[in-house]
Assembly symmetry: none
Homo-oligomer: 223 residues x 2
DNA sequence: ATCTGCAAATTGGCTTGACCAAATAGCGCG
DNA sequence: CGCGCTATTTGGTCAAGCCAATTTGCAGAT
């Protein structure tokens, strides 16, 4: 299986790995750009792009004329949750919160909102059929449900958690996640959620949402 | 004043500005790299570095062979959460989310965490007895429960929602809220939550937390 | 021996130019 | 009118070079 992601992403991961492996501890200085590029077998511009990605997510610090330094490897809280666990952490948070929200939503679900949800899934199906990534529809589906609670804070939280999937830290995994198969599964789960809402069954909706997000997290990690 | 930041950062800001200004709306395609670079007066590699930064923070999407596209123009929160927001909305959000969280927490509650919670409530009682506002203890109580899920994202959310109560908008109401009577009631409710956790009863804990936060919101508004 | 200061070496910052690969547009044929 | 191939457009990557900030090291002074 060849990695089809862009070179700078692959390179950023490899450098992250060098750091995680302990080859370069916190505070250590990485080899010079020219040397590191040659060592990794990529050109200097490509390495630079990777370094910028790492600089943005706080993995390294670049000091002009001095060198490239590894930043805080230190983990704050009691349990050593590594960066690699963050996607599962994210999806767990979404599962907990959105499952709670949909209980509220099911109670006040209007026919009009249901129609909007149906339309969203229709577009989603069309996207998948045409091998387009239905990311916007996925986002919309979850936001519509949150919005139906009438609580803007809850909407913001759902929004931020969803968009978190595309944060620097998780960027490297994106390519694998978005396969046609996984989107088809996601669509089926969305339909199950919608069915529960149509039946005005809060507990069924809660279960469907929780199932969807845990499954989604599993798909994300397994690829 | 000359901008001393790296060129890719300045360039990324300029492109962000092009998007924010409306020159390129959501979904629009930016000029080709070669053209855009010339238009901004930078080299293509430098522009590419800027584009990678923008891609990472979700401002744009780069499609190989196709072009550079503007993503969700609807930039979420940041700080624009002042309008539709109200104290009751805040407390409702906390009720929904923290009730869901405590179900998770009850499942994995350790004796050590319970001891910490008891100690927190002891200090809280002492504070109230001495007419001090036990704000820190209140905050700690809720954060400890969130932390016990082991999910840092959930902790952050609870933290942000709690601190939201002290934002400029809500500051005016605070004085009334913090009476000895209301804190005594809050303490009693906290003890009820703790009792449910000690009994390892997730549903009772959920009910106690929900009851506490809605009551807390009511106290907040009625004064 | 130690300190100071300047110059060389090191290292990141940026540019130019070129070629490859994916996606798209356009055209010609059936 | 539609299908399929090709040319063009556009992002992806590499190579080599020069500039600017920083560090290093040595020579001269104290």
């Amino acid at each position: 299986m060849t990695d089809t992601r862009r070179l700078y992403q692959q390179t950023a991961d490899r450098v992250r790995n060098l750091i995680a492996t302990g080859d370069y501890q916190s505070g250590a200085r990485l080899p010079a750009e020219r040397e590191l590029a040659q060592q990794l077998g990529v050109s200097r511009p490509s390495l630079r792009e990777a370094l910028i990605a790492l600089e943005i997510d706080g993995t390294i610090e670049i000091r002009m004329g001095s060198g490239i330094y590894v930043l805080n490897t230190a983990k704050p809280s009691g349990n050593g949750r590594s960066l690699g666990e963050s996607p599962s952490e994210l999806m767990q948070a979404r599962a907990v919160i959105e499952s709670a929200i949909i209980v509220q939503a099911a109670a006040t679900m209007t026919e009009r909102t249901l129609a909007t949800l149906r339309a969203t899934l229709d577009v989603m199906a069309d996207d998948i059929a045409n091998t387009r990534k239905p990311l916007e529809q996925d986002r919309a589906f979850h936001l519509i449900i949150a919005t139906s609670t009438g609580n803007t804070l809850l909407v913001e939280i759902v929004e931020n958690l969803f968009d978190e999937r595309h944060s620097p830290m998780t960027a490297g995994i994106r390519g694998h996640f978005e396969t046609t198969d996984s989107w088809t599964s996601a669509l089926t789960e969305h339909h199950a959620i919608l069915a529960a809402l149509e039946a005005r069954d809060p507990l069924a909706a809660q279960a469907a949402m929780h199932s969807h997000l845990t499954a989604s997290g599993r798909r994300w990690l397994e690829n």
